[in-house]
């Protein structure tokens, strides 16, 4: 019994990974395809730059935006693919869609998760610009290791939160039902 259940768990786990990787490749091709990149990703990245510049202006950085580039007298940064939160959104979206769940739960997860990822990414862009302007020696390591890892970890945590959402309540209901049957 136990071996059967373990084998079934392994099959489900491998099935999830296969679906996750398949969706990741499909979504990657979609966002890397030039018409989609030009019509969706670049304008979206420019919007990220505008919102970030607005926040930086409130913080007194005196920034302005040219396309996907944020500039001030002290520093300039170009937001590229990999810095616009799309990479974490691809990861999160693939995991949510690959995980067995009702569509309603998936849609709620996608909506809230993608918004949360973009909020974290805005904090990343704003803080990286500030570091570049005021602590330039820390920019490279903060950009590559620290913030990329933090944003991706946020994506993974959001997925785990979503995947386990409601399971405690459901387990309690199941325990309650089993007790009543006894």
């Amino acid at each position: 019994m136990k071996t059967e259940a373990a084998a079934s768990g392994r099959r489900r786990s491998l099935g999830f990974l296969a679906r996750f990787l398949g969706l990741l490749v499909v979504f990657y091709f979609l966002v890397a395809w030039r018409p989609v990149n030009d019509a969706v990703i670049v304008p979206f990245t420019a919007a990220v730059a505008r919102v970030s510049s607005g926040i930086l202006a409130v913080l007194g950085e005196g920034t302005h935006v040219e396309g996907t580039e944020i500039r001030s007298d002290r520093f300039a940064v170009n937001i590229e693919n990999g810095c616009n939160g799309v990479e974490t959104a691809l990861l999160f979206g693939s995991a949510v869609l690959a995980f067995p769940a009702p569509w309603k739960k998936r849609l709620i997860g996608l909506l809230l998760g993608l918004v949360a990822i973009q909020i974290v990414n805005l904090v990343r862009v704003v803080s990286l610009f500030w570091i570049g302007a005021h602590r330039p020696s820390l920019f490279s390591s903060s950009h590559t290791v620290l913030w990329q890892s933090v944003v991706v970890l946020c994506g993974v945590l959001l997925f785990l939160l979503w995947a386990t959402w409601g399971t405690g309540r459901r387990a309690a209901v199941e325990r309650h039902g089993a007790a009543k049957e006894r």
């Binding site: 136990k2 996750f20 890397a32 990479e87 769940a101 993974v156 387990a171």
Partner: protein
């Protein structure tokens, strides 16, 4: 057709995102960052040596030489003109995802248990293989797209797109997905199966 129900599948996750698991994740992240900073240089040398061996295994004659130096992998070829500059590829971009792997494995309830430790090192070894393959793909994409007429003479249109696209996939999605996939396959805590033996 019956599909696994969410409650059943999610119940099998057996991981709770709470204050304690977030603390363990943060501790794992910092520990991983420390190890990564301390051992990046020897790691890059090992990665470059393995990448060079793999590239030369498929070259006729074998001409590529890789040298890890100051956070870069310098690409040299025996047939490069003496005076031409040697491309330097930032190595940290390839392997910083080791820190993500550490953070994810630390999130489990008993991160220092021998079982979790063993699975972590198995995942880290597999991640090293991913890093070597990513380095090889990056170098092939440099050969295929960044050496002007030489690239066009030696790589067809399909090969150029394949190598450049593969490395771009690693940059955008692969390097973040690799630690998650390895953790999910090897390190994720699983609930004991239902039923009695």
């Amino acid at each position: 057709m019956a599909r696994p129900k969410s409650a059943e599948a999610a119940g099998r996750l057996a991981i709770r995102v709470d204050g304690r698991s977030l603390l363990r994740l943060a501790a794992g992240f910092l520990a991983g960052l420390g190890v990564w900073l301390l051992f990046a240089a020897p790691y890059e040398r090992a990665m470059a040596a393995a990448g060079e061996a793999l590239l030369r295994a498929f070259e006729k004659p074998p001409v590529t030489r890789l040298e890890a130096s100051r956070g870069e992998v310098i690409v040299d070829r025996a047939d490069f003109p003496e005076a031409s500059p040697r491309p330097g590829l930032p190595a940290g971009d390839l392997h910083f995802n080791f820190v993500l792997l550490c953070a994810l494995f630390a999130m489990t309830p008993r991160p220092l248990s021998p079982g979790n430790f063993g699975r972590f090192w198995a995942a880290a070894a597999l991640l090293w293989v991913v890093h070597v393959l990513a380095l090889v793909v990056q170098i092939e994409s440099v050969y295929a797209t960044r050496l002007g007429p030489w690239s066009e003479a030696h790589y067809g249109s399909l090969a150029r797109n394949l190598w450049a696209g593969s490395f771009h996939f690693y940059q955008i999605a692969g390097r973040f997905a690799a630690p998650f996939v390895l953790w999910w396959a090897l390190g994720r805590p699983q609930a004991p199966p239902h039923g009695k033996s």
